[in-house]
């Protein structure tokens, strides 16, 4: 039942592109408070490069699509988000393999492989005030919903809710990774820009599945 198609994944990327472009100034504003005021511009530039690439030559399989996204982000974003988001898509692509659609379980393990890649590269832990704080609860919620018999759209809705809660939970955290960590206690009271864009990533997928 309700497998996730290549078209849905492409729509996901397109919606994520639209989201970071629309909220570019907001992300940058969040980053000004505790970082270096570039997250919005970087994500918008990176996703624009991704859309330009996959519009020209539409990949025929899930792994080809996601690996193209990963490599494009790595080579066009810079900063910490380039390698982190890039690694997420690269690892997810490798895990999904050369298929044309994903079962709910396969989507879950693909997202999980992406998250493992982020963890390996960024070495963050829960509570460090990073994108991991949004993505980890999201994927937990997704796995729980799928295990309880939910289809992919329902599970990803639950994941998007969990990602938003995870994002909001970064406000009182003391940053321990990335540029915000230089602030120590002064990072408390601010939403983490990385967790914010990561929540957009999951809600864009939910929106793409809702159609």
């Amino acid at each position: 039942m309700d497998n996730v198609t290549l078209d849905t994944l492409t729509d996901w990327l397109s919606r994520f592109h639209a989201a970071v472009t629309e909220r570019r100034d907001y992300l940058t504003e969040l980053d000004s408070a505790i970082g270096d005021a570039e997250h919005g511009a970087n994500m918008a530039r990176g996703m624009a490069a991704v859309m330009a690439k996959i519009d020209v030559a539409r990949p025929g399989t899930v792994d080809e699509l996601l690996k193209t996204v990963g490599m494009t982000l790595v080579s066009s974003v810079g900063g910490a988000s380039g390698p982190l988001y890039g690694t997420f898509f690269l690892r997810m692509g490798i895990a999904c393999g050369a298929v044309c659609e994903l079962t709910p379980e396969a989507l879950g393990s693909g997202l999980r492989a992406g998250l493992d890649g982020v963890l390996q590269r960024g070495k963050a832990e829960l509570g460090d005030k990073t994108m991991y704080d949004a993505l980890f609860p999201a994927l937990e919620a997704y796995a729980t919903a799928v295990a309880a018999g939910s289809g992919a759209p329902g599970a990803i809705d639950a994941a998007a809710d969990a990602a938003r809660l995870g994002r909001d939970a970064t406000v009182p955290m003391v940053a321990r990774k990335g540029r915000a960590s230089y602030l120590g206690e002064r990072s408390v009271g601010h939403l983490d820009p990385g967790a914010t864009s990561a929540a957009m990533l999951i809600s864009s997928l939910a929106a793409a599945m809702a159609g």
């Binding site: 270096d36 511009a41 790595v74 810079g78 910490a80 988000s81 590269r121 540029r179 230089y182 602030l183």
Partner: protein, 305 residues
């Protein structure tokens, strides 16, 4: 020589075969660092990122491959998460292509509390001194292991501290990164406008000098030997004010028993239009002073030629 596609600056004349090559890179907005330090006696190539954003692994791989003279390549990386991650990916890719790469991560900013719970101290002014000294050693023909050990020695012996009188404005953001009232200053500011240790009312130069010198001397012993000192402008401060600041700094260093052997005053690692300055003190010895005095010919530093 500029490669505009990959945004890499190379030497016009590559160094001879068998010598270790040095590359660095980072976000733009810190000029002359790093592009201005490409040339004889310093870097072989510099990768430029977007403003305040690390360059990407494909740029670094391109540069690493181009400058390798068969003796390996040292990556000089300022300690910021983005720079470290991107250079790490580039080093993995270069190693997969059979190029020997070593990495030194510069982390000299005493404004950041050194803790295993954070990303650690930022790489700031010491990067300039390290590129000069290690560049001279590479020119002598030392091997990659020796070059890397020297880079670690310089990194271990240097400390920096900065102060900002105004914020910088990232062009893409279009407004100041942080609000700093005209009558206040940010002590311990980072080169990207990251807030520092504390914010205080503006003070006379002599008192600002204390705020720079004291945390550096508290952090590492400098009184028992010669030192190389840099008083650096952050981009928006006139030279006359930098010289004036150096005068105050020099008095304090002398009182503390630091023997200032070499001095650099000017804009070497900037933060766009930020007004303010940073102080870097490097513990030196005969070896480091010899390498410091060796010929260098780059747009940003030139002597002995």
């Amino acid at each position: 020589m500029v490669d505009p596609t990959n945004r890499v600056i190379y030497r016009a004349t590559p160094k001879g075969a068998g010598k270790v090559a040095l590359i660095s890179g980072g976000g733009s907005g810190h000029e002359p660092l790093h592009g201005g330090f490409v040339g004889l006696g310093m870097l072989d190539a510099a990768c430029a990122g977007e403003v305040f954003t690390s360059p990407t692994p494909d740029q670094m791989l391109e540069a690493t491959t181009a400058v390798d003279r068969g003796a390996g390549v040292l990556h000089i990386v300022k300690n910021y998460t983005g720079d470290v991650l991107n250079f790490e990916m580039a080093a993995e890719l270069a190693a997969a292509n059979g190029i020997e790469v070593a990495t030194v991560v510069v982390n000299d900013d005493v404004a950041v509390e050194d803790s295993t719970w954070t990303a650690g101290r930022r790489g700031v002014g010491l990067t300039v001194l390290l590129e000069k000294i290690v560049g001279a050693a590479a020119e002598e023909g030392r091997d990659l292991a020796a070059i890397t050990a020297l880079a670690e020695k310089v990194n271990a012996g240097g400390r920096s501290m900065g102060v900002a009188l105004t914020s910088c404005t990232v062009p893409a953001a279009g407004k100041p990164t942080f609000d700093l009232p005209e009558d206040q200053m940010e002590v311990g500011v980072g080169i990207h406008g990251e807030p520092g240790r504390t914010r205080v009312a503006l003070e006379p130069a002599a008192r600002i000098a204390e705020r720079l010198v004291t945390p550096i001397l508290e952090d590492a012993p400098f009184a028992d030997g010669p030192a190389i000192v840099m008083l650096n402008g952050l981009g928006g401060t006139p030279m006359i004010e930098l010289y004036l600041m150096y005068g105050e700094v020099a008095k304090l260093l002398e009182q503390a028993g630091v023997q200032v052997a070499r001095v650099l005053v000017g804009n070497y690692i900037t933060s766009l239009d930020m007004q303010g300055c940073s102080l870097t003190v490097l513990k030196a010895d005969e070896e480091l002073l010899g390498l410091w005095d060796a010929p260098v010919s780059t747009p940003g530093l030139r002597w002995g030629i």
